[in-house]
């Protein structure tokens, strides 16, 4: 009987991954993202120099040994980009994880339990949504001082509300659906309803939004770095771009220096949007995560 069930489920419902892999856009997105992740994971092997080491003359143009040239102190920009990939993706994924966990928890709890819990949580969400997030992020980062932790904290604190709101509205809809009520009349306890009825039905929304949160984190970090609010010791794409702008890259022919971080960010963004969009297409098109 278990064999039979496996066969049915293999061909029946659990084809999410299969569907995702049969989607051209999703494949393209996954390939880009995976290559970036591989670069990030192998950063120490791939980068020829330490990102902070003064290895050559300052402001060298791109060459074979320095594909993106060197910066104002003679540090290798290519190595900085490689290490930047690692840090940017780390920030992206960690903040996305934080946003997803916080957003999902608050969203589901708020949507399912309703009444005062909902009211209280949604007021917080409203406040955080209305407050100009980039601006407040800057504010908090200024106060906390530059550093990886403070960057992550501000990104997560200001990033979760839209997610919570979306999950909440989905949960609200689900809560009113008859299948939840049929579980209630079947005597199902709350944990079962939350875990087995609500959660599986918001999971695709969570994934789509969670993956979009990665690019949110990357861009937020880049914005903070661009204002000099990220630690200059650790290179992220934003830091490289900040340096490029600050050290007058354009006046030293450092076009590659300016283009590289932006293109990497854009690639991440495109990859992630493609994946999220594919997930949207595959699952319920009514709750469009991409359109937020």
């Amino acid at each position: 009987m278990n064999v039979k069930r496996l066969m049915v489920s293999a061909s029946g419902e659990d084809t999410f991954l299969k569907k995702l892999l049969s989607n051209k856009a999703a494949i393209a997105g996954l390939v880009i993202l995976l290559s970036l992740v591989v670069i990030a994971l192998l950063a120490s092997f791939l980068s020829p120099y330490a990102p902070t080491a003064l290895v050559a003359e300052p402001y060298l143009p791109p060459s074979y040994s320095h594909p993106f040239g060197t910066d104002g102190l003679g540090r290798d920009i290519f190595s900085q980009m490689i290490h930047g990939t690692a840090l940017s993706l780390e920030i992206g994924f960690v903040s996305a994880a934080g946003i997803t966990i916080l957003g999902t928890t608050v969203g589901i709890i708020s949507g399912y339990f309703g009444s005062y819990v909902d009211e209280a949580l949604m007021r917080i969400v409203d406040v955080l949504l209305v407050i100009p997030s980039i601006a407040f992020m800057i504010f908090v980062a200024v106060i906390l001082g530059p550093g990886l932790e403070s960057v992550l904290i501000v990104i997560i604190v200001f990033g979760w509300p839209p997610m919570a709101r979306m999950i909440r509205s989905q949960t609200l809809t689900l809560r009113e659906r008859e299948f939840v009520e049929s579980a209630v009349v079947s005597g199902a306890p709350k944990w079962y309803i939350l875990g087995s009825m609500i959660f599986p039905n918001v999971i695709s929304l969570i994934i789509a939004n969670g993956i979009l949160a990665v690019i949110y984190g990357v861009i937020a970090d880049a914005s903070l770095a661009f204002l000099g609010l990220a630690s200059t010791k650790n290179y992220s794409w934003g830091t490289v771009l900040y340096n490029a702008q600050n050290e007058g890259a354009v006046f030293h022919g450092g076009i590659a220096w300016i283009l590289a971080p932006g293109i990497f960010i854009a690639l991440t963004g495109i990859a992630i949007t493609l994946i999220a969009r594919a997930i949207d297409d595959i699952t319920d098109p009514r709750y469009s995560a991409v359109g937020r």
Binding site: T52, A53, L54, P58, Y59, G72, L73, G74, V142, I143, L144, G145, P146, G147, G228, S231, T232, K233, Q245, N246, E247, G248, V250, F251, H252
Partner: protein, 588 residues
């Protein structure tokens, strides 16, 4: 019908504005105006010379230096020369200072400039310390009495105590304002000086509105010196240096101070020229920034003089200038005084040339050990990992070089970027290893060395509010030297005392001066001819320079072609939509 009217109105507006611009362009083209870019982070809110609120000290001195003069000035070599005062005398114990004004001085409104104005200005300082506090030094409390002579050409200052640097502090650092205007100002601290302020410099501001980002100057017909050769100055306030090279390249500006990393872009352009001061600061107009590495001088191991000396050997100040400042600066001297004060610097000061091996040897000699990771450890074997605090930005580059230097000497240093709050707190409570500070220091030995003129100190962990006390390092000999130097009026006596002080500082190394920055002006010789910095001065607002510049040029006339195209497209779209709407309406 409404739509038609609207369309017609838009077309009319378009044509009218086009004509206006055409007229405006011709006007801009005929005016002989020098366009100058001056960097100020915020909008210019006041042109009050005593109260720089609204702009940075730099911008303030540059903007006001054009229109206000002080009693004395400095020539390009830093020698004190006459300005409003044609001569001065100091009594033997440096407590009475007498300035004799030039004849027939006039304010830009034609009113005579007399000793009364000087007395009025300094009395204001005596009564209001805040007016006096700009530039970080205060003369008011020193003055017992200031009075004008009967013929209104001499001013006599009587001080409470002997204080020889008063000549520079009062003569170079404080501008004089017209008493006939300012005596009617109820609150001199909040006076924004808008409109057409009255000044005495070669140029005066016209029709100035607080907050505007363009300030226009016209020649002052009553200026005592030679009449300017250029028709006027238009200053554009730039929020940062980042766009300066582009603005100079595109001809939007004729004169500005680019960031050091932009200079290479300008040197490639044939008509661009550079004028930069070799670490030569001019009092009252501009302060070259200096980079200082400060130790927590009471904390082990930095309380050991040899450790500080070893660190001084381990830092490559030439490289810092090369990489951190793109080569535009001067490596710091261990005697603390900038190169421009050559006359005060003795030639037998100990020098710490970059020698990492020697530094390592010194430390090993002190009992430090070679650690397993190649870095030195404390004699007891624990790791020594000093942190160099800074607040990020351009300072980071300097620290990066330093970290690299120190590591090559076996010191496992690293950078720690903190907020200004944390930095100040670390300094106040003495909880740090090393700190990179940038500071501006007027070129007066008393001011530079005065930082160390303390004879008390606060223990580590207790709050020290006087920022001068942050070094927590004291030396009674040095303190005595400086106190004496303030009482003697002769150069030779002062020289001896200052030389002794510098010797103490160079030997004890309470802090390391890493570099003196240059102030660099880039200009286009399409607009400016005949600037020879060595004789005319290195700085834009210096009166001698302003009056000798010729070929005062025009700003490039703005090209509105694309505005026209944009507005044209919009208008065409509106007209088309309106026409379609009208036609359809008629159809029905």
């Amino acid at each position: 019908m409404k739509a038609k009217l609207l369309a017609a109105a838009l077309v009319a507006l378009f044509i009218v504005s086009g004509l206006t611009v055409a007229v405006g362009n011709t006007r801009a083209a005929t005016a002989q105006t020098l366009t100058v870019g001056i960097v100020n982070p915020g909008p210019i809110e006041t042109l009050n010379p005593f109260y720089p609120g609204g702009q940075s000290a730099t911008a303030n001195s540059q903007l006001l230096g054009v229109m206000y003069l002080s009693l004395l000035s400095q020539d390009p070599n830093g020698t004190v020369v006459p300005q409003l005062a044609q001569s001065w005398t100091v009594n033997s114990n440096a407590s009475v200072f007498t300035f004799t004004l030039r004849q027939n001085l006039k304010w830009s409104d034609g009113q005579p400039l007399t000793a009364n104005d000087v007395v009025f200005t300094f009395n204001a300082f005596i009564h209001n310390a805040l007016l006096d506090s700009f530039n970080g030094f205060i003369v008011g409390p020193l003055i017992k009495n200031v009075s004008a002579s009967v013929n209104n050409t001499e001013v006599q200052f009587t001080l409470y105590h002997s204080f020889s640097p008063f000549l520079e502090y009062a003569g170079l650092g404080k501008v004089i304002v017209p008493a006939h205007i300012w005596s009617h100002v109820s609150n001199m601290t909040n006076f924004s000086n808008a409109g057409n302020p009255v000044g005495d410099g070669p140029f005066v501001v016209t029709n100035w509105v607080p907050g505007s980002s363009v300030i226009n100057y016209k020649p002052n017909p009553y200026y005592y010196g030679p009449a300017p050769k250029i028709g006027g100055i238009a200053v554009q306030i730039l929020s940062s240096t980042s766009n300066i090279a582009s603005l100079l390249q595109t001809g939007s500006l004729a004169l500005a101070q680019p960031a050091t990393n932009q200079i290479s872009a300008l040197t490639g352009v044939s008509h661009m020229h550079l004028a930069f001061s070799p670490g030569n600061a001019i009092f009252g107009t501009y302060f070259d920034p200096a980079g200082l590495l400060m130790f927590d001088d009471m904390l082990y191991p930095y309380n050991i003089t040899q450790v500080r000396q070893a660190i001084a050997y381990a830092i490559n100040r030439t490289q810092i200038v090369q990489l951190g400042l793109n080569g535009y600066g001067t490596p710091g001297s261990q005697g603390q005084l900038p190169n421009s004060l050559t006359q005060w610097i003795p030639n037998n000061l100990p020098n710490y040339t970059f020698d990492p091996a020697h530094a390592r040897q010194m430390l090993l000699g002190l009992g430090f050990k070679n650690g397993t990771n190649g870095f030195l450890t404390f004699p007891n074997g624990t790791a020594w990992t000093p942190k160099i605090l800074d607040t990020g930005g351009a300072n980071s580059n300097v620290v990066s070089v330093m970290v690299q230097n120190l590591q090559s000497a076996g010191i496992d240093a690293s950078e720690s970027v903190v907020t200004i709050g944390s930095l100040v707190s670390a300094l106040e409570y003495g909880t740090f290893d090393m700190v990179l500070l940038t500071t501006s220091r007027p070129p007066i030995p008393d001011f530079v060395l005065g930082v160390f003129a303390l004879n008390t100190t606060t223990p580590i962990g207790q709050q020290e509010l006087n920022y001068h006390g942050w070094t927590r390092w004291t030396n009674s000999t040095l303190w005595n030297d400086l106190q004496q130097a303030r009482q003697v009026g002769t150069f030779s006596a002062q020289y001896q005392l200052y030389a002794d002080a510098q010797n103490i500082l160079a030997t004890q190394v309470p802090l390391i001066t890493l570099y003196y920055g240059n102030s660099i002006w880039a200009y286009s010789n399409a607009s400016i001819q005949g600037w020879s910095p060595a004789t005319q001065g290195y700085q834009f607002p210096q009166a001698t320079l302003l009056t000798s510049l010729s070929g005062g040029a025009t700003s490039a006339a703005p090209d509105y072609t694309y505005v026209y195209i944009g507005v044209g497209i919009v208008v065409a779209a509106v007209v088309a939509v309106a026409a379609v709407a009208l036609m359809r309406r008629r159809q029905r």
